[in-house]
Symmetry: C2
Subunit: 347 residues, 2 copies
């Protein structure tokens, strides 16, 4: 008999939360009971799951009783407050916030890259940042063949990275501009429609923003390669929900584009999209709603003898967040790392 699990989604009404709900249903994750947790103001609403309308409940200590798995996507401070409570009550937490990602006690997992890391969890597994997930899925297969020495990344990040409200704001702004009115920015600090700006996360003393340092530090942790040198420029663009990245890779020895292409064509989670004849390469609208990271424009870097250029797009909400979290949950099930609470109790 297949085991099934009592699952809670923390932050169920957000852009990632609703996607988590959809993915659990689509992928037939073995759910015996689903609890939807969100902030007080969403209580009273319902969300649809497997033919039922489930009520939104508010978060409390008691909410995590009789839960085997928590998929958390309600921001860092909420995770910091509630993850330990959930773990104490016996649940495993897969956390989409940045709260625990760099905690050495917490595995940071991209299932296509470092599934083995999940085995060491002590109740919490961190889901990496969206830009990091997309980059690591594409770069890891190459890194395994020949170690990457340095990465120079530039991102083109969609509004979804700032949540459902930011996505709505971009549309409202675009509509205003098309009607000759001034756009209003309330969710994001500046108008994003027909505009773009460097990622607005807090800056460190070196001038790198948090989003960029996530790409640097999380990639090192996921690859278990602390010496890999990475720089990034993260930019928000007026796209709705898929991120794009221009990735420049430096190796210690030559790496032909054809070999990279051959490797990536059989790599999990990657879909090559390169039509050189029609100049057709990955675009955010094509990456939207699909599971794979689209990779293309693999080129020998003409400025570096051992350099490769590549271009990727991936659904920020899906593989960049919700899908990766559900894949981690599936991995836990597969490896018997997620035990229904009765099992915990019987230990």
């Amino acid at each position: 008999m297949t085991k099934s699990y009592r699952v809670a989604i923390l932050g169920a009404t957000g852009a990632v939360g609703t996607e988590l709900l959809e993915l659990l249903e689509q992928r037939n994750f073995p759910v015996s009971d689903l609890k939807l947790l969100a902030s007080e103001k969403s209580v009273g609403r319902t969300l649809h799951f497997q033919g039922e309308d489930l009520p939104i409940e508010s978060v409390s200590d008691r909410a995590f009783e009789n839960v085997d798995l928590v998929l958390a996507s309600a921001g860092g401070s909420t995770s910091k407050t509630w993850a330990a409570v959930a773990v104490e009550k016996g649940a495993v937490v897969i956390d989409n916030s940045s709260a625990f990602r760099m905690n050495p006690e917490v595995p940071l997992v991209v299932p296509e890259v470092n599934p083995q890391a999940a085995a060491n969890h002590k109740g919490i597994i961190a889901n990496p940042n969206c830009t990091t997930i997309l980059m690591t899925v594409a770069v890891w297969p190459l890194h395994q063949k020949r170690p990457v020495q340095r990465i120079v990344a530039s991102t083109y990040q969609s509004a979804s990275g700032a949540g459902a409200k930011a996505m709505a704001e971009v549309k409202t702004q675009a509509s205003a501009i098309l009607q000759g009115q001034s756009p209003v920015a309330e969710v994001l600090p500046y108008p994003l429609a027909f505009n773009l700006f460097p990622h607005n996360s807090p800056l460190n003393d070196l001038g790198y923003c948090e989003e960029e340092m996530k790409m640097v530090n999380e990639t090192r942790k996921i690859f278990a390669t602390p010496e890999i040198r990475i720089t990034a420029t993260c930019v928000r663009v007026p796209v709705l929900r898929a991120h794009s990245e221009a990735i420049n890779l430096e190796f210690e020895e030559p790496f032909s584009p054809d070999e990279a292409r051959a490797i990536l064509s059989r790599s999990p989670g990657v879909k090559l999209l390169e039509d050189w004849g029609t100049n057709h390469f990955p675009m955010p609208i094509e990456a939207t709603g699909i599971d794979e990271v689209l990779v293309g424009r693999i080129r020998q870097d003409i400025s570096h003898p051992y350099g490769l250029e590549l271009w990727l797009c991936g659904d920020q909400i899906r593989k960049g967040a919700a899908l990766n979290a559900v894949q981690i949950a599936e991995l836990l099930v597969e490896k018997n790392l997620l035990k229904p609470k009765t099992a915990y109790v019987s230990k």
Copy 2:
């Protein structure tokens, strides 16, 4: 007495052409007579200049008679057809197309960078590609202090780079999408509204598109540094008329961000825009309609001991095209390199 010149604009009705007209007026370029040339289908229309409505004329051999200066912005094939005719009739041609840029007989000029190159003109001076102009204005002052060894550039290019029709198309597409309809792409190969794609110029055998090779080859020519190593990823984004670029620079020795900042703060054509406290850096909407290239987010590259990261935005139509051409014309006047035809005749 100030000399004044008989000027023709070839491609007067395009996005760059109309900007040329505006700039000649705004900057009080000494025009004694202005001829507006465009394709047959625009004949009959008029454009406003210094209080007059000037008729659009069609291009012909005779159109270039009694003209001292041609500002050409009607595409490469038009320039190839007419530039020699204009020169033969005694005019100097400042050409905004790519037709002559890499011709060793033709100076390729960014007035803030290599004004001296203009002196060697033989009738034609090429105006560089927009992305190249913006990058060279920002990088040249640093390169003069310590030679740049390698550039890794990623661009965020606005619709204006594909002309006025592309700008209109992005708005039409956005409007359709906001109304729940499918966007139609006719000018550009793919929908650009709420989307983006690698630049759709023709690809070479190495997988670089023409736009990228322009950044590589034109920068080398303008800097007169053929050995500088450059790679670029050029991307069209749904912004109307200013381009942005993420520029990673490698030097042979350390270059502190503060020193770079000090140099750029006094460099011609550059305006530093860095408010680290409010995370406010150059944005396309701020670069639109201004002359300067906005530069900011100057950072020590944490992946390279001698690396610098910077971010810039510049008006693609203005400094990226029309303004640079008018500045070349002003330079010719200032250096007495543009002679009214009477002077030519009297030699």
